[in-house]
Symmetry: C2
Subunit: 381 residues, 2 copies
């Protein structure tokens, strides 16, 4: 039985005044404090991070971060592009189930905005395939291909896709830690600059700094757990690096596979989910994800979102109450752990204005590359 | 019970004619073939790699490598500087003990020589601390400080340290996969160029390309295991990034701690070890390691090596029969896994000219940074 104890995320955004070390320290200390824990109660540290090597010329981040926590404990950096956070949690959970450690801290962290756009774009394409890079593509370009295929196949309009961003900005407006807290309209999305047709600026998640941390334990004795939240499934699946190697451009098989396994492990169906944090790196991503996760029928993901079925407070399965990657922000290594923090707060009934009423079962959907890796966690209160 | 099935390492050296992808493919296919396994029998993939992001602008290496294996399975890149290989194995073992996966492949890989010396030196210092970098130090510089402290404290000569390299080149001369297969003399070491006083060129491990892979399983049913080799302990410990933050310059506390735990888990004493692969990134490293591991009394590590106590075939605890990092080579992410491959071959009695007679218990010692992280594995036949 894996219980979540402390959970904390920093504000996401352009955090010019804080170093990566200080950011790590802040979020780890707050995650501990949020549950009355001490660093000495932590047996090991798992860090999800994609870019500290490329952008910061800093490797060995696990040990660096352990220093900031003030304890010398086993420490690991886990990397799988934008799914690094979720993969770090998966490995942390395995270490508890193995009996190797009893209580561990999982940190997701990324510091991106101190670099030029060119540097960041090149660094992010490090998760792409050789062919995509040689063709001069970027991730907006790759996801735009999926959007084109999806819109054509299911007669979906640009406005339907835009509804994803509008929903997520509305949710972000309820989240004091979101990078963007202003609501936007379909018209705002439609008139924003084209990035990669049909995706426009407001279809894309931003470049962000931020960190998030959770403390998980296999022990119930460490502290009498008030509002216990359990992680009941942690599943990973992969797909090809390149989009062109896949059978379908309108479904991510890694998501279908990982979520299918996770539902079976948790003994639930997709319809049992009350709230989900979705990896909406682009508007099209969330539309497809809600189908791959079984929330919407094939071809109906974007339309269901446009009809309010994923929106607070009247939807059936609320997606991205935090504002998602689009509005809350996307510091890549931090994203998978921020999703866990958000769902934990939701299931504890501590999510403030963005609370999904009576949420009992939550899901996180963390994706790396263009659907190359998918990590699904299911949480229950 | 964790059993080692297939195990394989490529030749280490300057491998100009092979890409990282092809290198990964070669070593994974051979690790499978060496035990009559198929890729479809592998549940997950753990990749130890330090520099593919910085030097190759390639992240998401787990999924990339899964592609080369021809299977879409959960895949993880684990990074902890030069201990990345050992840390990948540690996480892989936890995933088996957790029951999450049953048979997994662990790959260590690094491609370093296609880059300028400046690029490599900068990239390697990514594992160092801010202070060490700002002072203009490099890892030879940091280890030279340890060597100076050690030589002064224990009246050890440069010739005593040189004996480490002489021993390891002798062992390398017996290893057809070693980067350097020529024996050297104390005089050769003494007259080689100064790198960071008192360390000379022949006190330092080289820049290398290479890969190594092992298949481990928690099942005995996957195939009737001939010559079963078990991993009976896998322990990790960390220390500060910076040398100047430590209590001692002549002992690595992470090694003492991790090996202490590993001996307790395995139920053995240091004296029970027949053969060990040691992380001799510099001659001083092996001298100190043999003390921290309990093979030699404090201050006697280098002298015991100089007296032949770690040399094939008459020593008591044989260290680095492969030639170690010094002679076999040091493709950083691959090193921790190559050590496992070597000990597996030793315990199976398949190590050829470098066979340690009757070896029953072996140890691997994989270190990241200047002793910032240590990973100890104990294997038994």
């Amino acid at each position: 039985m894996i219980n979540i104890l402390g959970a904390y995320a920093t504000k996401f955004g352009e955090l010019w005044n804080i170093s990566p070390r200080a950011l790590a320290k802040e979020v780890m200390e707050n995650a501990l404090k949020s549950f009355g824990l001490k660093a000495s109660q932590i047996d090991a540290l798992f860090v999800g991070n994609m870019l500290s090597g490329i952008l910061g010329n800093q490797t060995n981040l696990g040990s660096l971060v352990a220093e900031e926590l003030g304890v010398q404990i086993p420490a690991f950096r886990i990397e799988g592009a934008c799914a690094s956070g979720g993969l770090a949690l998966h490995n942390a959970i395995n270490s508890l189930k193995a009996g190797q450690y009893k209580t561990v801290l999982v940190l997701g962290i990324e510091k991106m905005t101190d670099h030029s756009q060119d540097e960041i774009t090149t660094a992010l394409m490090a998760a792409g395939s050789d062919e995509e890079r040689m063709a001069g593509s970027t991730f907006p370009g790759v996801y735009a291909l999926m959007a084109q295929a999806y819109m054509r196949k299911y007669s979906v309009s640009e406005e339907d896709l835009a509804a994803v961003s509008v929903k997520n900005h509305y949710h972000g407006s309820l989240n004091p830690k979101a990078q963007f807290q202003s609501p936007i309209t379909i018209a705002d999305v439609m008139k924003s600059s084209k990035i990669a047709d049909p995706l426009k600026l407001l279809d894309c998640s931003p470049i962000s700094d931020g960190a998030a941390a959770v403390v998980i334990t296999s022990e119930n004795t460490i502290r009498k757990v008030k509002k216990p939240i359990q992680i009941v499934a942690s599943e990973v699946a992969t797909d090809t690096l390149s989009l062109h190697d896949r059978k379908s451009f309108t479904s991510l098989s890694a998501v279908v596979e990982a979520s299918g396994k996770a539902y079976r492990k948790a003994g639930i169906k997709s319809g049992d989910i009350d709230v989900a944090e979705i990896h909406d790196c682009f508007s099209i991503s969330e539309a497809i994800a809600t189908e791959d996760l079984g929330f919407s029928e094939k071809g109906h993901g974007a339309k269901d979102i446009a009809q309010g079925r994923r929106t607070l407070s009247n939807g059936d399965i609320i997606c991205n109450p935090s504002g998602g990657l689009k509005a809350c922000g996307h510091p890549v290594g931090a994203t998978g752990i921020k999703q866990i923090v958000e769902i934990t707060e939701q299931l504890r009934g501590e999510a403030g204005k963005k609370q999904v009423k009576g949420a009992k079962i939550g899901l996180t959907h963390n994706v790396g590359g263009s659907g190359t890796v998918a990590v699904i966690h299911i949480l229950q209160n």
